[in-house]
Symmetry: C2
Subunit: 282 residues, 2 copies
C-alpha cells in the first residue's frame, strides 16, 4: 500500500457479508473522506463465522476494482483472517481505525459472540487498533442504509477525535427506521438474551435426515441500559466490548470456595526443576 | 436418548478436534462413572472455529460405535453446532453438565476467543448449562493425557457437587508434565497476550500467491494470577469465563464523554408513533 497521506488516518474497512454486499459499500460511502480507506473483505458471505480463523488451508487475497478510488481486496478466509492479512500483507502497518459492516441484520446482545462483523472488529481491538462494528436491524437486500450511514459517520468522527483507552471496541446497532425517527444513540450494555434453538428436520432423497438451524430470539434482560432496550426504544445502541472474558466475580468466589483443596491433588513431591527440560511442548 | 438413570447426572461431552481424537476419549475415560455420558462431537477437526455456527447449509448427525458403552454421535458442523444439536435432537433436554475437550494444544489467554473447545463450552453456558473446557499444553499426537485426566475428573466432581452461580463456565488448561510435577490448580484471570501474526507467502503452480497463517505468541501480562503465569509455574490454570462482553469501565467513561452530544444528531422531530408500524423488520 502507498504511504499514508499526511494527516490522513488509515482506515481499514471489512465485513462479514462479503465484499459485494451493499452494506460495506454504504459504510465506505459514509466515511470515505475521513481518512485513507483500504478495504479487505471476504470474497463470500461469512455470517455466523464468529471468531473463526483459517488454519487448515491457505488463504487467497485478490485485488478488486469494486471501489475504483481506493485499494480493495477480497480474501478467501473469514472476517478475522481479513484483518490479520490486511495488517500483515496489505497495509504492512496497523491502521488507525478498523470499521466492520454495515452488517445486514442485528448484532446486539448475545449475537456479538456469533457475529463475524464483530469478530473482525475484535481482532483489530486485540491488536490495539480502535475498532467499531456497525449493524443495521434489517436483513432485507433492499434495506435503507441512510440512517446507519449517518451514525457510522458520527461514531467514526468521534473515534478519530477522542483518545479513549488503549483498547476501544464498539458494537453499534442501528434501528431500521428513517433517520428522523431515531432518537439518537445510547451507550449500552450487552443484553442478556439468547436463542431458543429448534432444528428443522428434513430428509434427503436417500431418506437420510439433515437439520437446518433455526431459533427464536428471547430477551431476558429488562435493564433500561441494555442494547435490546435501546433499539426497541428507537435509539442506536453503542456497546463497548472487551476481549478479557474473565468472570472476575466468579473468580473471587472460586478463590474462596475451591482454595483449600488446591494442592491436595498432588500425589508425589515435585521433582527437581532439571526434569523440566524434558517437557514435550509448551 | 434413554431417560436419565436415577440420580445420575447427564453429562454431554464434545470437543473441537473431532470425535476420533485421543483427547475426547481421554476425557470420557476420566469421567465416565460420574454420570450418564452422551457424546456429540464434530466428524472432523474444527480447531480455530471460534464461535462459528452453520447457517448456510444443513447439518448431519450420525450415530457412531466409537464408544460402545454409551450413545455417541458425530456431527458435520462446528463445536457450537454440536451443543445445539445435542440439546435439541439427541438429549431433548439440557444436560446437567457439558465438558469439552480434552483439547490437543493450549487454550489459555487470548486463545479462548479462537478456540472451538471453549466456544462449545460457552454455548452450553449461554444455555445455563454449567460447562468446562479442558486443554492439554501439547499438540503431540502421542501426548500423555494422564495428568489432564486427573484434573478433568477433579474439576468435574467439583462442578457436579458445588452450586456456584447461574452461569458457570471454566477454561482449564493443563501443563504437559507428569501429574507428580504439577503443583495443583490455580484460579486465574485470562492473561493479556496475543499473536504476532506473520503469513507465510507461497506460490501455486500457476504462479498465484497464497498465504499460510503463522504467528508468534507474545504474553504482555506480568500478573501472578494470570493463566499464562500459572501454567509457566507448573499449575493447572482455571479461568472462570463470561459471555457478557460489555466493557463496563469504558461504558462509564463513554456515558460521560459522549453524553452531551447524544441527541444532536436528530435532524427532524420524531414523527408520530403510528408510523412505526411501517418498520421493515426488527
Amino acid at each position: 500500500m502507498a504511504k499514508a497521506k499526511k494527516d490522513k488516518p488509515v482506515i481499514l474497512i471489512t465485513n462479514d457479508d462479503g465484499i459485494t454486499a451493499p452494506g460495506i459499500k454504504a459504510l465506505y460511502e459514509a466515511v470515505k473522506d475521513l481518512g485513507q480507506i483500504v478495504i479487505v473483505a471476504p470474497d463470500k458471505p461469512q455470517s455466523g463465522m464468529g471468531h473463526a480463523i483459517t488454519i487448515g488451508h491457505p488463504l487467497r487475497l485478490q485485488k478488486t476494482d469494486l471501489f475504483p478510488e481506493i485499494e480493495s481486496y477480497s480474501c478467501s478466509g473469514t472476517p478475522v483472517d481479513c484483518v490479520k492479512l490486511a495488517v500483515d500483507k496489505v497495509l504492512h502497518r496497523k491502521p488507525d481505525l478498523c470499521l466492520s459492516g454495515i452488517n445486514h441484520g442485528p448484532n446486539h446482545s448475545i449475537n456479538v459472540i456469533y457475529s463475524g462483523t464483530m469478530s473482525a472488529a475484535m481482532e483489530a481491538a486485540i491488536e490495539s487498533i480502535p475498532a467499531v462494528g456497525f449493524s443495521l436491524m434489517s436483513y432485507s437486500a433492499n434495506a435503507d442504509f441512510s440512517a446507519a450511514q449517518h451514525y457510522a459517520r458520527l461514531v467514526t468522527e468521534k473515534m478519530l477525535k477522542d483518545k479513549l483507552t488503549k483498547h476501544v471496541l464498539l458494537n453499534v446497532n442501528i434501528p431500521d427506521y428513517p433517520l428522523s425517527e431515531i432518537k439518537g444513540y445510547k451507550i449500552c450494555k450487552q443484553a442478556y438474551a439468547k436463542y431458543k434453538e429448534s432444528f428443522l428436520e428434513r430428509k434427503d432423497p436417500s431418506g437420510k435426515k439433515y437439520y437446518w438451524l433455526t431459533g427464536e430470539f428471547i430477551n431476558f434482560d429488562n435493564a433500561r441500559d441494555s442494547d435490546v432496550w435501546a433499539l426497541a426504544n428507537s435509539y442506536v445502541s453503542v456497546v463497548p466490548v472487551e476481549f478479557d472474558l474473565t468472570d472476575y466475580a466468579l473468580k473471587k468466589k472460586l478463590e474462596k470456595q475451591w482454595k483449600d483443596k488446591t494442592d491436595r491433588s498432588v500425589k508425589k513431591p515435585i521433582k527437581k526443576i532439571v526434569k523440566k527440560s524434558m517437557r514435550k511442548s509448551e
